[in-house]
């Protein structure tokens, strides 16, 4: 009886092979012709027969991502990576899915894993540098882009990325050279944004606003132009206009960290604490573990009498960042609110010490 069953299974498997291959062929045809929903269905059927088929999993992920079904796409790529952890295409595709859903630090992890497998790949390098920029890791972005600058000194995209990283890293002199190179190719939104960033660093708010207005006029869809315009408006105390600029940026890029975070700050300032909390939590989804966001959430919790929750968050924060002055300040306030006077006094002593250290450093810097 057992041998009959085995024979039947073997026969059905042999019969299924050509059918499966035909499913894959149809799926690819549908995918190539832009019929993504049919392609997804056919890939899924094929994978029931061949669950370990790497190419099919990768293609399924791509079709799902095209349809905006990023969670399912990520699941498909992760299945592919379980089968072959160093599959470069699956790593890059997974990174792209993370990137498109604003999960920048996860995108960076995948790209870092992919880069040694694709060392000369421009797309991977530039995307990784862009992730570093978005995460505020400017030095890493510069280190990645430096070797490429020698190879393609006139590439506008590269100059723009490198210039942005240099200016944001306050490497003004080198950044200015890159800006000049961009400007030598004519006025552009990118060059204006870079100039504005340099001016913002130098606290020339009015000058920065002028350049940002021009950048937006030249290219209203330029990534981060509205966000930087918002920052300039915040510096000028024009919070209503700043909020509008940040919202405009989020229209273009719903995962723009600066805009989400700054809208949270404006909501907090206006005492719209629910909105502030929601903005900060979304910011945290883009920059997981970001100390500045964690701190802002704690201050909102403190302002809304969730003192115990604020305490827990602040204690974790000062443990991870012991020199975070503002977190110690708020923790002292929390302890006094909780009638833990000795703990409050201890935190205040830490604040005094940190302030004195800062003053000493400042004096030494002069």
């Amino acid at each position: 009886m057992r041998s009959v069953l085995a024979l039947l299974l073997a026969v059905s498997w042999i019969v299924a092979q050509p059918q499966a291959e035909s499913l894959l062929k149809d799926a690819i045809t549908a995918h190539q012709s832009g019929d993504y929903s049919s392609a997804i269905r056919l890939y899924q059927e094929y994978l029931k027969v061949r669950p370990d088929a790497l190419d099919a999993l990768s293609n399924l992920g791509a079709a799902l991502a095209h349809e905006g079904r990023f969670a399912e796409a990520m699941a498909a790529y992760n299945r592919a990576l379980k089968i072959q952890p160093k599959n470069p295409q699956a790593l890059v595709n997974l990174a792209l899915a993370y990137y498109k859903t604003g999960r920048i630090s996860e995108a960076r992890e995948e790209l870092e894993a992919a880069l040694p497998l694709l060392p000369k790949n421009q797309q991977v390098t530039f995307l990784l540098a862009d992730c570093d920029l978005r995460l505020g890791d400017y030095k890493k972005a510069i280190a990645l882009l430096d070797p490429w600058e020698k190879e393609m000194p006139n590439d506008l995209g590269l100059s723009y990325l490198l210039g942005t990283a240099l200016i944001r890293d306050q490497q003004t002199e080198r950044g200015a050279k890159v800006i000049d190179r961009i400007l030598s190719q004519g006025d552009s939104a990118e060059a204006r944004l870079l100039l504005a960033t340099a001016k913002l660093n130098a606290h020339d708010i009015a000058g920065a606003r002028e350049d940002l207005e021009k950048a937006i006029e030249l290219n209203p869809r330029l990534p981060e132009a509205h966000a930087y315009a918002g920052l300039a408006m915040v510096s000028a105390g024009d919070f209503g206009a700043a909020a509008a600029a940040f919202r405009a940026e989020l229209e273009l890029d719903p995962y723009n960290f600066t805009s989400m975070f700054q809208l949270g700050m404006i909501a907090k300032r206006d005492q719209h604490f629910d909105e502030a909390l929601s903005r900060f939590e979304r910011s945290l989804a883009v920059h997981p573990g970001d100390a500045a966001v964690e701190y802002q959430i704690a201050t909102v919790q403190l302002a809304t009498d969730k003192v115990e929750e604020a305490r827990q968050r602040l204690e974790k924060l000062v443990q991870e960042s012991p020199r975070f002055l503002e977190a110690h300040v708020s923790l002292a306030t929390v302890y006094y609110r909780l009638k833990r006077r000795e703990d409050g006094d201890r935190e205040r002593a830490i604040v005094r010490q940190l302030t004195a250290d800062q003053e000493t450093q400042k004096a030494a810097g002069k």
Partner: protein, 337 residues
Amino acid sequence: MIRWFLLAGQLAAWGTASAQECGLCHRREAEAAKSSPMSHALQPARESDFLKNNPDLGFRSGNFVYSVRGEGDQLIYSVTDGTTSMNAPIEWAFGAGIVGQTYLYRRGGAWYEASASFYPEAKGLDWTPGHAGRPHRNLEEAAGRKIDPEEVRRCFGCHSTGAIWGPASGPEALTAGVQCIQCHVGADRHAAAVKRGDAAGAALPKLAARETEELGNLCSKCHPSWADIATNGPRGTGNVRFQFYRLTNSRCYDAADTRIACIACHDPHGGLSEDSSTYDSKCRQCHPGVDTRAKTCPVSKGDCIACHMPKVEVPGLHYQFTDHWIRAAKPGDTYPN
């Protein structure tokens, strides 16, 4: 009982928890409050004594000339670069004028803080704090700083009482200055209960019974707190203006001990004593050795604050502030931050 009944009748005739109302029972506090700086923290510009008594004020900075002059029943703030001028009626005068008085005007529906403030010590106009360093590239920038609606609300929120905001950018109604209900939250409920003759419902928590830190937090609704300054600065002598921050940094500050609370030395209902000896008795609450932790001064038996709370002048503010960071300050010592 009869007094209670009569009181309820009088209260019913007035509004809810106005200073007049509160004064029916709390006479001493209400009388003292009439002359307190807090109750004069805001005035309609035409009622400002400084502006009334100095009808033609002016100062010059670079190309710009600033002036305040009376015109009919209005006070006009004017800035000119010699070619063009900006003129706007001043609507509100902020500050009782112990240190200075700052003015707000409106243009095109938006509020502006005038770049020039009045300083009694200087007997004239000078830069409003923070304005000297702002860019003054054109007349509008030179004249004042545009204030967004939220900041305007905060200004009036601290300097007035019961401001009602309509759809327009300004307050529709308010009582100028800090009135009872600003600190005594629930005073309106208390007054209503008194009107009803409901003695139990009239109970109001005594603020003086709070611990130092709690009282500090209450004052910090308007006076910047230790946390505000510790987080955002300013550093240097500019922070001498923020008394609670300075006091909290003192060695003798104790978050629970009310002998070091703001109201231990300052009567929130009354004026500010300029006679330094009046504060000696406050220091003696701890320092004759009653408290074993507190030292007795080896130098003097009086005028404690002359040495322990030195006067510090903030550049541009024409005023010597008392440094509330209590310490043995010696000439030439570095200003502690």
